[in-house]
Amino acid sequence: MITAAVQEREHYLNASYGIKSWLLTKDHKRIGLLYLATITFFFFLGGAFATLIRVELLTPQGDLVSSETYNKLFTMHGVAMVFFFLIPAIPATLGNFFLPMMIGARDLAFPRINLLSWYLLVLGGLLSLYAMLAGGVDTGWTFYTPYSTSYSNTWVIATALGIFVAGFSSILTGLNFIVTVHRMRAPGMTWFRLPLFVWSTYATSVIQVLGTPVLAVTIILLFCERVFHLGIFDPTRGGDPVLFQHLFWFYSHPAVYIMVLPAMGVISELVSVYSRKPVFGYHFVAFASVAIAVLGFLVWGHHLFVSTQSLYAGLVFSFLSYFVAIPSAIKVFNWTATLYKGSISYATPMLYAFGFIGLFTIGGLTGLFVAALGFDVHVTDTYFVVAHFHYIMVGGTIMAYLGGLHYWWPKMTGRMYPEGWAKLSALVIFLGFNLTFFPQFVLGYLGMPRRYHVYPPEFQVLHVLSTAGASVLAVGYVIPMIYFIWSLRYGKVAGANPWNATGLEWQTASPPPAHNFDQSPVVTHEAYDYSTVLGEVEVG
């Protein structure tokens, strides 16, 4: 294995130079980095909006910003975070970079389309950004009609088109991944030898391909209604606003699994590597990903329990919602069981993995709360729901994303991150996170509605706690940003396989050569067989 002299060796970063070599690259690894830069930008943008929201909510009166501005803030926060950060976050960065390597391919099946999909994300991002700068948009990230079609006089169209374009990016990424996994696996890489990250990314891609087009057409119809005065959802012409909600959530519920499935894939990798054991119940975890992707399409109506949706539809959707919980539960239990009798390392990525499992459990279990009809009637559109989804998306997915980023950072850059700082920031993030969002469960059950700019004074204590937590959290997020950049220059040089991991991506140099492998790999082992990577071992 090649470990010598990173500097002289040719790899994907120094294979060519100049802006053009990046902007026209077809190398999935470089495209992954382009994505990384893009979504990091949107994360901090969304985070800045969140900061303003939290500061505003320090006091019950609306004294920092006007109502109009506040409404724009949470809308733009939701839009930036969901469509331009979290949906592309793991698949388009880590997935793009590592999926081809993990299956032993030289690249994705359609490198040009891959590059195109990055451009589409940027274009969509710019459109939405333009809308934000030009005056913002205030419909909530859910764009409910008729507010969004006939009443809002903000930049709905530019934002919606931005999301539409980004949706294309998402579809193309998904399509590319599916074809790649089907057609480009290295010899010997059978389906059940695939690392679990590949399984979950594959399942994610299926959702992207089947769900996103429905969002696309919904946006088009919204567009036609606002611009051409067609009347698809317009109640004054007999249209039904609830139909809009069905169409929106047909995509947006499965989309939450676009956000969490790749995270689960990362966790499967981390848990295995840092306990040096194959993932317990590999087949179950693999199939659970697919099950979540499929079942995830059957439950969208649980967002409509008080929308005047029919009682019977409510029953069906609530019932089906509980089915998604089972594969999620299977995953959580299997990860935990993997630790049993393992050789557990406390490397930073593993700390994030622990954080993920715990916080995802809380977020997921509160998902069961809101899936219970009579309970949801009380808490829907309150901070309880806000807390539920932040627990999964921030406590879960972002933790996994950061964990994955730390884990693969040596491979991507050839350098180690500073372990001490990394541990510290993981801890800060965990504590800050809980302080921010736990009080919101209580707030929500007390009846604090979401999207409220001013609120009754009795809710203030909990809001203050939440804001305090958010400040800690912000610090936690800024630290990695700094040391990652620092490590590019000063980090310890990483070997090809600093973690003794088994994936094919670790069997090539760090950073990898332009075509990933000097020799096309041939796979002869199951995934996660650590006896193949540890030289001499002590059996424990």
Partner: protein
């Protein structure tokens, strides 16, 4: 440089090992793209079902105002274009350059005719004030049902409009293919672009196969 990488040609891009692998990948990619299209139109089909179910009579009346003969004729035009397309693909499979070009041009012309007819129909709607919006008026329905008639025409315009947009894109693709085919890019060994464009074209045809009865035919007897 990686030892395995080979010189890239359109017939074999460097990420693939064999031409067959590449062809399979492209075909699969196209099919996956087509199912995204199914879901895209699916959203509108759902809207159509819901609203037709809620307003059967108004929809029947409104849809009876469309000209069936024009619709049927246009369906035939589109089917003809599918036929010529499939012959173009067959030509490509056999590596017959002339045949490809000829049938692609025929397909292009038929596609153009379809769009022309569609434009004519749309224009008619504008003159009859059947375009949703403030100026909308549908004779024969009382004022309070005008809104629901607008619902029908909103769906009509959205569905035929997006279908037409797909046709326009198809026409663009065809033009590109014709240009390349004339240059002799395609052969029996490398004809994937023709093949997958054919899939796309037929798919757009299938959408119309459903739009035609849904918008023009169903429940005409109620409308009288």
């Amino acid at each position: 440089m990686a030892s395995e990488a080979h010189a890239e040609t359109p017939a074999l891009r460097e990420q693939f090992d064999t031409e067959e692998q590449q062809k399979d990948a492209s075909t699969l990619g196209m099919w996956i793209f087509l199912i995204t299209e199914i879901m895209f139109f699916g959203g509108m089909f759902l809207a159509y079902i819901v609203y037709r179910g809620a307003n059967p009579l108004v929809f029947a009346v409104a849809s009876s105002s469309l000209n069936v003969y024009i619709g049927a004729a246009n369906t035939v035009v589109l089917l003809c274009s599918s036929f010529t397309m499939v012959l173009a693909v067959r030509g490509a499979q056999l590596g017959q350059r002339q045949t490809i070009v000829l049938f692609l041009i025929l397909t292009l012309i038929l596609g153009g005719v379809f769009l022309g007819v569609k434009a004519y129909e749309w224009n008619e709607k504008f003159q009859e004030h059947h375009v949703p919006g403030p100026a909308f008026h549908f004779e024969g329905l009382p004022p309070e049902l005008q809104g629901r008639a607008q619902l029908f025409f909103s769906l009509y315009f959205a569905m035929t409009g997006l279908h037409a947009l797909h046709m326009v894109i198809g026409v663009g693709i065809l033009s590109l293919l014709i240009w390349q085919a004339r240059k002799g890019t395609y052969s029996a060994a490398y004809m994937t672009p023709v093949d997958v464009s054919g899939l796309y074209w037929h798919f757009v045809d299938i959408i119309w196969i459903f739009l035609f009865p849904l918008l023009y035919l169903i429940d005409r007897h109620l409308g009288k």
